[in-house]
Symmetry: C2
Subunit: 345 residues, 2 copies
DNA sequence: TATTAGCACTCCGAACGGATGAGTGCTAAC
DNA sequence: GTTAGCACTCATCCGTTCGGAGTGCTAATA
């Protein structure tokens, strides 16, 4: 009775158990199921089946004489094969005010917020990694005697800037030339594409001011790294208190910390962007997550694209018994909307 | 026996009670005090005195037959008159790496972090309100056909920027003129000083491009407001879990939320900047705080100044039984250090 | 052979009831 | 005014009890 396959009936029962548990958050017993499902079986029969399901690892008992709750393996199966998405979410979300904005970062912030209030889970949104963005415009200008302001605009109108101390005095004319040089050479290039060869070439062209070119490149590189490269916005952190299994002081503290030190979330972002396939939506259940402090959570991530290869990640973090259908639906619809908003142009 | 003044002895006893409670976090009984203090009194005498102190409102009993804990009024008295500051903290802090940085915001972030790890409380640091900062430099430049990039640098090298859609095409020469116009008129002025009169005057000078001037001013105003004007950095939020009286799920959730929605902290900032006097350090105990969600906390704030009138606020949020001496000392030393760092130049 | 009814059993959680001990308030003596 | 002494209160701990939910197993049933 142990190593058999999951037959039709077992699947139905497992499905019922999970659905019920997602709703109530309480261990579910055989009697409940025997009424809940359409297949008319007595609780005794259900019990036998449940014993099998437990042996196979799909469900588990918090303690003897308690009902069953889904195991990670159970959730996994559910998410992989038994889930029906709620497409109606898409319509609802259309109403949510996600509007295109001149500056992407501002919009992404609002995405995080909207998602958090809408789902009742914690959310994170990573801005497209800047180093893959293309440079739109570079501008050097003199602020005062000793200081030069370097401004770099990349796609999405993300603007980086840095103040450079220029010891040697540079006259306005050379500044103009440098601007021209930098723009013609670097515009349209992604930041990570800038090669050493290009830099030396530019230095050569700059002649006596080659030093300045180096400084500017350094400043650019610096201003990119400065913000830890990957900008991440979070929202709804305090939603975790809505789920007793996460509100435990120790776990909560760890989670809060993770959200504050956004850097820890980069692993999640990287993993999502790397392991992408199909719909671009990924579900991490419990231990599957790359972030240590989320071992008792489930995380659903999606990749979005704002045209021209600017890709970022959206993540929703909640308890394992999160409403996967709703979350996946919501993420699908929101990435779709982002796609639409930024495709036109 | 009720409406008498606090005599010497009562003060000593109250002092002892508070000190003891700050250390242990447990209600303190008469026996403890009778041994703790130098005035050799039996527990019975202490009990009588304690009854008086309670009647006067300086201490209270969590329940009959428990020891006493300080009331808000008790803490207040302690902070106002009985506290001896630990000046040695100053030396310790010197070791902490607070270094001047080109961009203030980055440094303030690190201040928040250093304070949080050093004190084990939650911290917030507000950046100087931008609108009181003076403009150092303005630069308009053409990004492409239809778009102009406006960059404004204010004191502290805080850099704001905005993209302006320019319908009418402006040639390079007028752009130069506009730059000159803006810089000569606005540099050295604080953002809030810009008056309508100045704007109209500039528009007149700009001639046919008066519209552009308006746009730029709008853009500047916008980019200031955009970031909710007041930038606030927080750190160590999860420290609140170290204090059981705050770790309670409901309170914790509220607090976390306050730190996430930094906007709520502006009241604290405003109150601090307004009610400033003497040392510039303020202590809010329990209900005294202007922020609703911190009713069960104490908050200590300080005003710092980065030369030339750029003033901001540092706040430390912890349980009522926080180590006021250490916190006040730390804040004093750190504001002092900031002052030093930014005075030289 | 699969399903079901029935029953003994397990375990959690809430409720109860002493002990224990810390701490108080009060009184009477010093 | 101070103190010793005592009765009293109350939180906390711990063992017990008890009911309920749910299980596993067995034997009867279709």
């Amino acid at each position: 009775m142990a190593d058999q396959e999951l037959d039709e009936r077992k699947i139905k029962i497992l499905h019922a158990i999970i659905r019920n548990y997602l709703e109530t958050g309480e261990p579910v017993g055989s009697r409940t199921i025997s009424k809940y499902t359409d297949l008319n079986l007595s609780s005794a029969t259900i019990r036998n089946e449940m014993a099998d399901l437990e042996e196979m690892g799909y469900i588990l008992q918090p303690h003897t004489s308690a009902g069953r709750i889904p195991s990670d393996k159970g959730y996994r199966l559910y998410v992989d094969t038994m889930m029906e998405e709620k497409d109606r979410e898409i319509e609802e979300l259309k109403e949510l005010m996600i509007e295109r904005e001149e500056k992407v970062d501002r919009m992404l912030k609002s995405v995080a917020k909207v998602l958090a209030t809408n789902t009742n889970y914690a959310t994170m949104v990573s801005a497209p990694a800047i180093r893959t963005n293309k440079i739109k415009f570079i501008q050097l200008s003199r602020m005062n005697e000793g200081q030069i302001l370097a401004v770099v605009v990349v796609e999405g109108n993300v603007i980086k800037n840095n103040v450079i101390d220029s010891d040697g005095s540079i006259d306005d004319e050379t500044l103009l030339k440098l601007n021209l040089l930098l723009n013609t050479n670097l515009c349209g290039k992604a930041l990570e594409e800038i090669s050493l060869a290009m830099i030396t070439a530019m230095k050569q062209q700059a002649g006596i001011h080659s030093e300045m070119v180096g400084n500017v490149i350094d400043a650019i590189a610096d201003s990119i790294k400065s913000e830890e490269d990957l900008q991440i916005y979070t929202s709804g952190t305090n939603n975790i208190f809505k789920y007793p299994e996460l509100a435990d002081s120790r776990k909560a503290s760890d989670l809060i910390n993770t959200f504050e030190e956004k850097q820890m979330l980069t692993e999640l972002v990287n993993d999502t962007l790397a392991g992408e396939e199909g719909s671009g939506i990924q579900v991490y259940i419990g231990d599957e997550t790359p972030v240590q402090s989320m071992k008792d959570c489930s995380v659903v991530t999606a990749t979005y694209e704002l045209g021209e290869g600017m890709r970022g990640t959206i993540g929703i973090i909640g308890p394992k018994r999160m409403d996967y259908e709703k979350v996946v639906g919501t993420l699908k619809s929101i990435t779709h909307r982002l796609d639409e908003l930024y495709k036109k142009k």
